[in-house]
């Protein structure tokens, strides 16, 4: 099935498509920029494949190559469960290519990001502005010739070209007929409690109804991708904690899994099970924060106390593993930093049997049938399944719209196929459904943890591979071979072969992807994170149009936008 796509493309577009170097059985083809839209459209609509989910678009810079820039598309087919990567080379003098917005709405912000970071222009894009860096920024920071420490000051808040205050007209400069509604532009955020400190939305209002909204992000852009290019593979792990900091473990797992794929190693069963357990614990606390914060935003403070109490309990478990509550850095490439401490399994059992279910229960009784909550959320911010998919939604937000897509079921990794659990789906795709899906997912996560604890196998917590794992300390002190290996690993770090991989895991917010390019040295050449929130948040204008300001607050909370992974 997998090889079919590349072959079909080769037959269909013999002039335009060529095979990319084969690596780790991933499907990748190079496409010329003239035909990229045709190819995307074919992949999207071909009934055999239906690559309906555009997971990512990113740029890459290869100075010295004839085609200096590269634009990489990651597509996924819900029908076949296969990924395909399309790569378009662009020359330095003319880095332009047509936009894919006509096929995938998800392309919107991803293209803006590629423009912002690499200066690649997408012709036909309606709003090709910077998205992560500020508007006064000169140059494109992710280009290899941009010095990593060259900071550029911004002296005034970003202006979106929308005048604040009252006005009349269509707002797009078109001629006025005198019958346009009188509207008012309201700036919300980023220093606003419900905008989580980092999101900004400009809303054009008629009365209290939102006519149009424009989100602005990038207030927490911390240069994850550029920074990681200057580090070794192991050193990147702490940075991944800070992507989605509500569930740091899952980023650790996602990143390490990608590098392990790059290296072609498989971790032991014990490591896999422990990773499953910590991931699911993280999913629970992530959902707890999301639900708690969403409820606080719309005025229900009490559940916050209940949810955070249980979160503390889970923190206790995580702290026992790695000494830290939030920024865990627990996984290592090829394994874990420590094995489970004594008594951890029993403690974990106790928590997942008694404490966490109690918190879920309490929130459920307080909220699920609460008249005010239901009135404020049901039917609010609804999105249909097709639309959600087209915008690149994944995770609970997509499942709330009724699409039962979950990487853990669709492309199982780490024995997820052996666990018995269900994928909750909603039917309306509204704020209330998103809440319900999250509640049920926590229960399912508890089931998975329970089974993983029962089946937890014995075994090493690090792979036996000289390229990645440190030898035993005793041996380092007494034998020459291990001493050399130890020194080499510490000084040189892990050196994967040349190649590129894209690996996805199901994080709390949806599909978390890592696209890693290795040039055969100890530092990653390019790391691109596919953050689930990024795709979701760009659909906000569509979600809020026509609703009230108070609804906007409820909607933003239910999308669970974590700025760390949104802005990276």
């Amino acid at each position: 099935m997998a090889d079919l796509v590349a072959q079909t493309l080769l037959e269909k577009f013999p002039e335009a498509v060529s095979l990319a170097p084969d690596f780790r059985d991933e499907e990748a083809v190079c496409v010329t920029r003239e035909s990229i839209i045709q190819v995307l459209r074919f992949l999207y609509s071909n009934p055999d494949t239906e690559y309906t989910l555009l997971e990512d678009i990113c740029g890459a810079d290869y100075p010295g190559r004839e085609d200096r820039f590269e634009v990489v598309y990651q597509l996924y087919s819900l029908k076949t469960g296969g990924h395909v990567r399309l790569k378009v080379g662009l020359q330095e003098e003319d880095p332009t290519l047509p936009t894919a917005i006509g096929i995938y709405k998800a392309a919107d912000w991803f293209e803006r990001e590629a423009f912002d970071q690499y200066g690649i222009r997408f012709e036909g894009h309606p709003n090709l502005r910077r998205v992560l860096n500020h508007e006064d920024f000169v140059g494109h920071p992710l280009r290899k010739d941009y010095p990593i420490k060259k900071r550029q000051k911004l002296t005034r808040p970003t202006n979106l070209g929308w005048e604040e205050g009252q006005s009349r007209g269509n707002g797009d400069g078109s001629e006025q007929t005198g019958e346009e509604p009188e509207w008012m532009t309201l700036n919300i955020g980023p220093a606003h409690p419900t905008m989580h400190g980092t999101l900004r939305i400009l809303a054009r209002l008629e009365g209290e109804t939102i006519l149009k909204a424009e989100p602005e992000i990038g207030y927490l852009h911390r240069g994850f991708e550029k920074t990681s290019e200057a580090l070794t593979y192991q050193q990147v792990i702490p940075l991944t904690d800070r992507l989605n900091y509500c569930s740091a473990m899952m980023n650790n797992v996602g990143y390490c899994r990608a590098v392990e794929k790059l290296l072609g190693i498989e971790v032991s069963k014990r490591v896999q099970y422990i990773r499953v357990i910590v991931s699911e614990l993280s999913r629970i606390i992530d959902h707890l924060v999301c639900i708690a914060a969403n409820l606080v935003d719309i005025g229900a403070l009490t559940p916050y106390w209940y949810c955070f109490r249980e979160r503390e309990n889970v923190y206790e478990l995580l702290e026992a593993l790695c000494g830290s509550r939030l920024t865990t850095s627990y996984t290592r490439i090829g394994g874990l930093s420590h094995d489970l401490p004594d008594g951890w399994v029993d403690k974990c059992r106790e928590y997942i049997r008694d404490r966490i279910p109690r918190a879920i229960e309490e929130t459920e009784t307080l909220i699920t049938k609460n008249r005010i909550f239901v009135d404020r959320t049901s039917g609010v911010g609804a999105i249909s399944a097709d639309e959600a998919l087209n915008w690149g939604f994944t995770g609970p937000c997509l499942r709330a719209s009724g699409v039962p897509f979950d990487v853990r079921k669709a492309n199982p990794y780490y024995d997820y196929d052996k666990f018995d659990f269900d994928i909750p789906v909603g039917s309306n795709g509204d704020t209330y459904d998103r809440y319900l899906v999250r509640m049920e997912e926590m229960r399912q996560s508890l089931r998975i943890i329970e089974q993983a604890l029962d089946g937890l196998p014995e075994g090493p917590i690090s792979v036996e591979d000289r390229r990645v794992s440190l030898p035993e300390k005793d041996a380092v002190y007494t034998k020459f071979g291990p001493l050399v290996q130890h020194t080499k690993l510490i000084v040189d770090g892990i050196v994967p072969p040349e190649g590129e991989v894209y690996s996805v895991t199901e994080a709390a917010n949806g599909v978390l992807g890592f696209y890693i390019v290795s040039d055969g040295t100890k530092r990653p050449y390019r790391i691109k994170v596919r953050p689930p929130c990024f795709a979701i948040f760009q659909a906000l204008p569509q979600l809020v149009e026509g609703s009230m300001i108070a609804d906007l607050i409820a909607i933003v909370g239910s999308l669970n936008i974590i700025a760390g992974e949104l802005d990276r």
């Binding site: 941009y146 989580h196 400190g197 207030y219 800070r242 106390w305 109490r309 503390e312 802005d567």
Partner: protein, 165 residues
């Protein structure tokens, strides 16, 4: 509060008791403005929640309007894009005000030293207490809060910051 602007009070022999009363009131009723952007803000939420319960220190009235707050808690990385906003918020808080840099990022830029991050908020606004850690534990935050209280305790309406001299 306005008391400070009274020259008569400042020069009167009752400065000591007035200071004592004012500082006592201010110290145990800090109203924090949570300028939370990133991971540290999650820990701030934990401090505010039931387990660590910031209200034991009289600082549970968390405001999101600079005009109603006197303790600016900056939690989380500040990017160049965010910097002007932080400055604006700081300027909008009325005197007397105190600033806590919560977390390594706000103290020094933390693990981020690149094209888009501010290397410590003290390059933008004055800071009273630095709380190190990435993120600082809730206990460290509370320790920082106590340090702020100690600073308040030592203030006087004769300080240049109040009389503007």
């Amino acid at each position: 509060m306005g008391i400070e602007s009274s020259r008569i009070l400042r020069n009167s022999p009752f400065v000591k008791p007035i200071d004592a009363i004012l500082n006592w009131c201010r110290e145990y009723s800090c109203w924090p403005y949570a300028f939370g952007t990133a991971c540290c803000a999650i820990e701030f939420m934990a401090v505010a929640a039931s387990h660590y319960d910031i209200s034991r220190f009289g600082a549970e009235v968390i405001r999101f309007s600079p005009r109603q707050a006197d303790l600016l808690v900056v939690s989380g990385t500040i990017s160049e894009k965010m910097a002007p906003i932080l400055k604006k918020i700081y300027d909008q808080i009325c005197e007397p005000k105190w600033v806590m840099a919560h977390g390594a990022c706000t103290c020094s830029g933390g693990i981020y030293d690149n094209y888009c991050t501010v290397q410590g908020i003290d390059t933008i606004i004055p800071v009273d207490v630095y709380v190190p850690g990435c993120p600082p534990t809730p206990e460290a935050f509370l320790d920082g809060l106590i340090k702020i209280q100690k600073i308040i305790e030592g203030e006087s309406i004769r300080d240049p910051k109040y009389c503007g001299e």
